[in-house]
Amino acid sequence: MSTVRALRKEDPVTVDRGGEEPAPVTPTAAPPEVASAVHNAALLWLRGNGISMLLWLISIGMLLGIWYIGTKYKLEFYIRFTNVPTPGEVLQKLSHVNESGKFLLNIGISVRRILIGFSIAVVLGATLGLLIGRYRVARDLLFPICEVLRPIPAIAWVPMAIMLWPTNEVSIVFITFLGSFFPILINTIHGVHSIDPVLIRAARCLGASEFRLFANVILPGAMPHIFTGFSVGMGVACVSLIAAEMISGQFGVGYFTWEAYSLVSYAEIGLGMITIGVLGLVCSGVIQVIGKLLMPWSSYANAGKK
């Protein structure tokens, strides 16, 4: 028992002598000090980020300003603003299209296509990536196919997809899937290869069988790269979806935008574009949030980055 006591006594000494402080723990302020602490924190944050925020506003403001001035005075200097809708017109259109519900339907259909195509890509891409990354047989058997198909952009598949699949709807989902599949696959393979071999050795010494190693070390170890693949894949999926909708679609935001052009409804073009942008932003934001929730440790691993 004496050794236990010696250990406990020793411990704070360890921290002092070694000069090793643990990374800061979440501070817990006493109730009366909370208000002033929050106030101070807000001030500090503002001091640190105030200039940043100001610059952000200026940046966005410049973009809107150029758009506004260009369209208001119908500027023409090689670039022609003559037919471009003004910000006001686009905003007005937004309240208009909401009346019929068709606009929302288009968004819903695009979102559904992305969800289905991307989900299949997540399951297939991550699974195949883990297998190809870990096992030589899988690599030799499957990777050549991937390498041959990978350089073909998803959009180039549009005519073939229309022939391959029974309906237009399925072929658009297929294009979306293709767009996100390869980034997810490649990043997952890279993730498996980037796992520190000492972690695999450690797991083996702790009695991990191959199956348990796969589930408990390979998968979580590759997770940060897998999520990089999700982010990139989602971006490409959006691009592919819009292109596919413009070419072969009925419904969807891409179709909406292209149809607006055909119908000479210029304000709707602007609205469609902005919607596509917001859609992409939301999709990648969702992936980032899920990634943060699934990998709470990652924020500490990157503590060195500013």
Binding site: L7, R17, G18, E20, P22, V198, R201, C205, G207, V217
Partner: protein, 286 residues
């Protein structure tokens, strides 16, 4: 937790040859050594002498080319949780909290959560890490990470600990404290330890027995018993007995380090600079 008569290592006339392409490297040659049950044994020698190779054989990562390596009389078949390994590099799983890292081996054994959580917490308490059970490894200092590594290796109740320069990456002060913590924990668990280091004081302070290895190919040059009493305290490092051992080991190691560097020079390392290794150390060749 002590298992008497278990955790013995017997290595007889062991040799390891690595084939690196066309290069055939004799890493270890005719090594005979043993670790008795509950004994703390250090392996010390110049870098590249095959210390880690020996440990990797016992751990089950490397197969011997000749001779035999037995654990409790049986041949070693791959890595397993009966032999806990602490690596020089921090090898904690960054995606698991400190406690879940410690639980890992128990989880692999199929121990239910209700049992493994209290077990992990008890061990963390012994190492003074209970307050950090929910931290992630990247939130800890180097010394704390290595303590978690030791606790994790102990969690599956192994018969022995294999430690490959576990404190090599730590600063001098942290190292000294870690050595004390390790001897204290070792006295509690009474399991065998095979400890690799290039730090002479460290090997004396911790061990019952020290094997000094020669430069490549690694052979056992000397076996030195450490007669110091237990429990060991930092004050012991000032006693004549301790200092005598340090001098004896330094002389042995110096010879081998010079021999090792000499071999590197012959391979074309420094010869271009007109240097050579002689009995007096590095000499200028005129």
């Amino acid at each position: 937790m002590s298992e008497h008569c278990r955790g013995a290592i017997d290595i007889t006339d062991l040799g390891v040859v690595f084939n690196a392409g066309s290069n055939v490297v004799q890493a270890v040659s005719s090594v005979t050594m043993d670790v008795k049950s509950g004994e703390f044994v250090s392996l010390i020698g110049p870098s590249g002498c095959g210390k880690s190779t020996l440990l990797n054989i016992v751990a089950g990562f490397v197969q011997p080319t000749s001779g035999s390596a037995l654990v409790d009389g049986a041949a070693i078949r791959g890595p397993g949780s009966d032999r806990g390994v602490v690596f020089q590099q921090y090898s904690l799983f960054p995606w698991l909290t400190v406690r879940k890292n410690v639980e890992f081996g128990l989880k692999m054994k199929g121990v239910p959560v209700a049992q493994r959580v209290p077990q992990a917490r008890t061990l963390l308490g012994l190492a003074g890490l209970l307050a950090f059970e929910n931290h992630y490894p990247d939130q800890l200092s180097g010394g704390m990470k290595q303590r978690v590594g030791i606790v994790r290796a102990l969690a599956t109740s192994p018969q022995m600990l294999l430690m490959d320069e576990p404190f090599g990456a730590l600063d001098a002060q942290t190292r000294v404290v870690m050595q004390e913590i390790l001897t204290n924990m070792w006295q509690q668990f009474r399991i065998s330890v095979l400890f690799i280091t290039h730090d002479i004081e460290e090997s004396i302070f911790l061990s019952d027995k020290i094997y000094v290895m020669t430069a490549r190919p690694g052979r056992i040059k000397a076996e030195i018993k450490v007669p110091l009493l237990r429990p060991r305290t930092p004050e012991m490092t000032y006693t004549p007995a301790f200092i005598g051992l340090v001098q004896q080991l330094k002389a042995l190691i110096r010879e081998e380090s010079l021999a090792a560097m000499g071999a590197e020079l012959k391979d074309g390392g420094l010869t271009g600079f007109g240097m050579e290794i002689g009995p007096q150390g590095i000499e200028k060749v005129v």
